[in-house]
């Protein structure tokens, strides 16, 4: 088959990670590399110890060979996340996060946890935030109807998580609202 069944209705988390790893991060290189033309643009030159901005996948690749340190983004820190967790649990709406934060955080924690200060704490904060937000998306299901549901500040991984259920729920509601119209038309005749 052209597309495996598991890929037909949704995108998979590894694919989202592939998309997210196009985003730029800052690194401190440990080797020097000339400026290089990639398909997505030219990056470099890398001259230790000057910082450089690169796509995340290059940074991860170099990190795995111990050829750079990754500077984690500002939002991947205990202070920021603690703040956001407080916001998330005290207010009804979703707080603001970079759209692909879940993927980027996971990739960075997997590959470069030694570059993140207090990475265990960061990890558990991310988990708490995730749970708080999941509870909110479940509540949001009450507001679903057949035409439209606004989801401000929802992030790509969260959307992917709720996709199958929400899409089906809306499909059922569409059927329910469409059928009375059709049957009432039949009654008119």
């Amino acid at each position: 088959m052209a597309l495996p069944v598991s890929l037909r209705n949704s995108i998979t988390p590894p694919e989202l990670e592939l998309v997210a790893s196009e985003e730029l991060v800052e690194i401190i290189p440990l080797i020097s590399i000339e400026r290089t033309a990639f398909i997505s643009g030219a990056y470099g030159p890398l001259r230790p110890p000057n910082k450089a901005k690169l796509p995340l996948w290059i940074a991860m690749n170099l990190k795995m060979k111990k050829k750079c340190h990754i500077v984690p983004p500002d939002w991947l820190s205990v202070d920021f996340l603690q703040n956001r967790l407080a916001q998330e649990t005290s207010r009804p709406e979703f707080s603001e996060f970079p759209f692909r934060f879940a993927e980027i955080a996971k990739l960075l924690l997997d590959v470069a946890s030694d570059d993140i200060q207090n990475s265990d704490k960061v990890r558990s904060l991310l988990k708490d935030i995730r749970e708080a937000r999941q509870a909110k998306s479940r509540d949001g299901l009450q507001k679903i109807d057949h035409s439209e549901l606004g989801l401000p500040n929802l992030c790509s991984m969260e959307i992917n998580e709720i996709r199958p259920f929400f899409v089906r729920a809306m499909g059922v509601l569409t059927h329910l609202t469409r059928d009375p119209e059709a049957s009432s038309r039949r009654l008119d005749v």
Binding site: L18, E22, S147, P152, N153
Partner: protein, 226 residues
């Protein structure tokens, strides 16, 4: 354009020109990724992005050629190896997305082959190769059904395009009422919702709504599916 200048002595090419277009901040690969995600999420088949694809395929070929040429050089340094490897890695990443994009389309083409053959406006969204495949696939399945089952049935049950009330149509069509998650890339013109009201999406807004509502916006590039 030099994909990978062969050594420190050669002046380094700044930014690859075909991507340099400062007015368009989205690179070709980012465009392809966007169209790939749209294609994956949309229930209907979207217009083929022939220009993006062929430009990227050209670029892949150029990068591969440069890598081949450089790998032949026996006295390249360790840093040089790292560069070559990174360029190769990227080529593989781009190839992955290109393949997945084409396979997603192929899946939809085979699923809706008979609908495509019967509907000229869908045919416009396909490349020539895709259209040929759709035609051949539809013909193949039809003749298979005929030979294996249909010819043994009474004549009035032999048709493949019956439209009996209360049963699903025999030609499967994309379900445009399926809900999709939409992310507005710009301010959008207002669209009509199924309940009769209108919705105007602001930039950055994310909404779950039936595909039919945003079909036009998606075609114009105002929104993307996420």
């Amino acid at each position: 354009m030099a994909g990978l200048p062969s050594g420190p002595a050669v002046p380094v090419e700044p930014i690859a020109l075909d991507f340099g277009a400062a007015a368009a901040p989205e690179t070709l690969f980012q465009q392809l990724v966007r169209h790939w995600l749209n294609e994956r999420h949309a229930p209907d088949i979207l217009p083929i992005q022939a220009e993006v694809l062929s430009a990227l395929l050209d670029h892949i070929r150029r990068q591969t050629d440069t890598v081949q040429a450089l790998r032949g050089d026996p006295d390249s340094s360790e840093a040089e190896h790292a560069r070559i490897m990174l360029v190769q890695t990227e080529v593989e990443r781009v190839k992955f997305v290109v393949r997945s994009y084409i396979r997603t389309r192929l899946y939809k083409i085979e699923k809706f082959a008979r609908h495509i053959v019967a509907t000229p406006e869908v045919q416009e969204r396909l490349s020539q190769a895709e259209l040929d495949h759709a035609r051949r696939f539809a013909q193949l399945t039809e003749s298979h059904f005929k030979v294996s089952v249909l010819q043994a049935l009474p004549p009035h049950q032999q048709r493949l395009d019956d439209n009996t009330p209360f049963t699903p149509p025999m030609i499967s069509e994309p379900d445009k009422s399926r809900a999709v998650f939409v992310h507005a890339r710009d301010e959008c013109p207002p669209v009509r919702l199924p309940d009769g009201t209108t919705m105007q999406m602001q930039k950055g807004q994310i909404v779950l709504t039936p595909y039919a509502v945003v079909e036009q916006l998606l075609a114009m590039g105002n929104v993307e599916l996420v």
